[in-house]
């Protein structure tokens, strides 16, 4: 059974030469030819991981889509969500599942504060300034967590076990995370599509200036968007904490892949984020199993670059936040 660890670890290096690419390919094709049971298992893992990845990208794609801001602090927002769940269950003895909504609230508040202090003053400034400002926020929060909770990895004490379905092994923690991801996505979509406020946010995403003309308070929409985006990161981080160890620096890998997913899926698109998440998840799971080391991540970046160049609007067309 392949050991799937989402965080990027470095495996011992394989030998050089072209066989590092041909051997895995031959292995992969052999497994397909034999209808090897491992394929089904990998598919299951890819699906689970993809769902979690999609969840990590939802908040990012929302902020990017509505405000045209690249939020580098998003990765550390995830981490805050992880620590919130951990803190709630460790110190208060409450179930980690209760910690998830708490994380959403905490992150909403944190998101609004970050927005007011750092993003709002420079919304009209050159885009690189937003990028640097949010990176500054990343450093501040990350280091604050490091000081308070030490850089050591933490883990939520929760043994959820696993399911065996027709020979396929499904860790329950990841399954719950996938369900939460789907539920969150549907809830936010319902909010955006059927409430007046949600429609205003979507209108702002389509056309900021236009939104201003029709009397939408774009300033307030920005607060909300950043807050909701951060809250989504909180839910994502909290869900990941259900099944994975984490430290103050865990966010970085998720952040980069979240960017990939946002671009693959199309700016501001939630269903797109799911498709993008699945693609990245599958590549990581299959690549992690067949390819040496973290070569899968190389494939992900190549796909990312290709999409940026050829279809920056996302693999499946327009945005519909």
């Amino acid at each position: 059974m392949p050991q799937i660890d989402i965080s990027v670890v470095t495996f011992p290096l394989q030998g050089g030469g072209l066989d590092r690419f041909t051997d895995p390919l031959v292995q992969f094709l052999t497994d397909i030819a034999n209808l090897d049971a491992v394929l089904l298992q990998l598919l299951a893992f890819g699906l689970l991981l993809g769902g979690v990845y999609a969840l990590t990208a939802l908040g990012l794609t929302m902020i990017f889509g509505v405000m045209d801001v690249i939020n580098f602090a998003h990765g550390v927002f995830l981490v805050v969500g992880m620590y919130t769940v951990w803190l709630v269950s460790e110190s208060l003895g409450i179930s980690p599942f209760v910690g998830i909504p708490i994380a959403a609230v905490v992150l909403f508040v944190l998101g609004v504060v970050v927005h007011v202090l750092t993003v709002e003053p420079i919304l009209e400034a050159p885009q690189q300034n937003q990028l640097i400002a949010t990176l500054g926020v990343l450093l501040i929060i990350q280091s604050a967590i490091e000081i308070v909770f030490t850089p050591d990895p933490q883990q939520v004490q929760l043994s959820l076990g696993s399911l065996q379905v027709g020979g396929v092994f499904i860790p329950l923690g990841q399954l719950y995370a996938l369900i939460i991801a789907l539920g969150t996505m549907l809830a936010v979509r319902a909010f955006l599509n059927s409430t007046d406020l949600g429609r205003r946010i979507r209108g702002t995403a389509d056309n900021r200036d236009g939104a201003r003309y029709v009397g939408i308070n774009v300033k307030r929409i920005n607060y909300l968007t950043f807050g909701i985006g951060a809250a989504l990161a909180g839910v994502a981080g909290a869900s990941i904490a259900l099944f994975q160890r984490f430290d103050p620096f865990t966010g970085e890998t998720y952040l980069i892949n979240a960017f990939v997913i946002v671009i693959l899926g199309g700016l501001g698109s939630f269903p797109g984020a799911f498709v993008g998440g699945l693609i990245v998840g599958m590549i990581q799971v299959f690549g992690g199993y067949y390819l040496p080391g973290t070569t899968a991540q190389v494939l992900i970046f190549l796909l990312f670059i290709g999409t940026l160049l050829v279809k920056p609007e996302g693999l499946f067309g327009g945005a519909d936040a």
Binding site: L13, Q128, N129, Q130, L135, G136, E252, F259, T295, I305
Partner: protein, 361 residues
């Protein structure tokens, strides 16, 4: 005429002279050359060197150098690169790889590295410019090209994977400590070497700015299609900007690999390296000649001094650094070098309201 005005008047006269840039350059680099001695001056029982060590000075000049190189592409032509760690890492890795495998002298290796980096830059430029990536998309694409290299290197046993390279001794490549070996047994020569690098890249930047190339670069930055309508071949000049910028950034990486003992993918290709390489230019004033140097003397010591001061609380230095980043882009979006002219504009406004009041009264 007040004294301030007469001083300003005579400065303006000086500024109009053709020798003015030369005098300014000599003054600036003379000061930088004297810095290692200045920090050791004992002022009222306190040495600046206690907090601002020669190591910090070296780092400061390294980042001034790389920011100056970044500026050529991003400050001048306006193509904001968020992936210069790619070129920096190539510089470090190519130099060390050639040194380890072929015992190639680092000076030669450095130039080879520069050419490879320029080639990679041209590939990035060709793709991103041809496909017309703009704004966030351009920044993300350049970042992706840098991150791509990080993972490629991590996964290549031919490049020592995640372990990286350990700098060999000069005798391993048939040399002795000294300029030719690119290795010294004390920090002072390293300082003057990187200062020389900075002088070269600043000189080249000055030459670019004062030629048609610089004007074309700026025209492209301001409005590419307007520039094209009066004959500026924008694509070609953007490619030139990337190549030159990548080449010099790689030399910075080569220096880095010869100054520090080890290089690893997660140091020279680190995600945050992309930021460190461009930050002094943004802080100082992108597109200006002095901005990257001034910016580095603000940014780098802050982070280094914070690191050495707060050793007992691991991470506090990064909080200070992060807060500093946020503050600087909020309060000075056009860089520190815009402060004098902003102050002058403010002063003029104050004065003109004063005189208006006088008239009204």
């Amino acid at each position: 005429m007040s004294t301030i005005e007469s001083v300003r008047e005579s400065y303006r006269d000086f500024d109009d002279q053709t020798y003015a840039p030369f005098v300014k350059g000599v003054a600036l680099f003379g000061f930088l050359a004297a810095l290692p001695y200045i920090i050791e001056i004992d002022v009222a029982g306190m040495e600046l060197a206690a907090t601002l060590s020669l190591k910090v000075l070296i780092l400061t000049v390294i980042y001034a150098y790389t920011a100056q190189a970044w500026n050529i592409m991003s400050g001048y032509t306006g193509q904001f690169s968020f992936g210069h760690a790619a070129f920096f890492g190539i510089g470090a890795y190519a130099t060390q790889k050639l040194l380890a495998d072929l015992a190639l002298n680092p000076w030669v290796g450095m130039l080879v590295a520069g050419v490879i980096a320029a080639g990679y830059g041209l590939i990035i430029g060709f793709l991103t410019f041809r496909f017309k990536l703009k704004g966030h998309y351009f920044a993300l694409a350049t970042l992706a090209f840098a991150e791509l290299l990080r993972f490629v290197v991590v996964n290549m046993s031919e490049l020592q994977g995640a372990n990286g390279y350990f700098k060999p001794f000069p005798r391993d490549y048939g040399a002795e400590y000294g300029l030719l070996a690119f290795q010294f047994q004390s920090d002072l020569p390293y300082y003057y070497l990187i200062l020389g690098f900075l002088l070269v890249v600043t000189l080249i930047s000055w030459l670019i700015k004062n030629s048609w190339i610089g004007l074309y670069f700026f025209a492209i930055r301001e409005d590419e299609s307007a520039a094209a309508s009066v004959g500026v071949p924008a694509f070609r000049y953007k490619m030139l900007g990337v190549a030159v910028s990548a080449f010099f950034t790689a030399l910075g990486g080569a220096y880095w690999s010869m100054y520090f003992n080890t290089i690893r993918p997660d140091t020279v290709f680190a995600l945050f390296k992309n930021v460190e390489l461009l930050l002094p230019a943004v802080v100082g004033g992108p597109g200006t000649l002095i901005g990257p140097i001034v910016g580095s003397f603000i940014v780098t010591p802050v982070s280094e001094v914070a690191r050495t001061t707060f050793t007992n609380i691991n991470g506090l230095d990064r909080i200070i650094y992060g807060a500093f980043l946020v503050a600087i882009v909020i309060y000075s979006p056009r860089g520190v070098v815009s402060w004098p002219s902003r102050a002058r504009a403010l002063w003029n406004r104050v004065r003109s309201t004063d005189s208006n009041e006088e008239v009204n009264n």
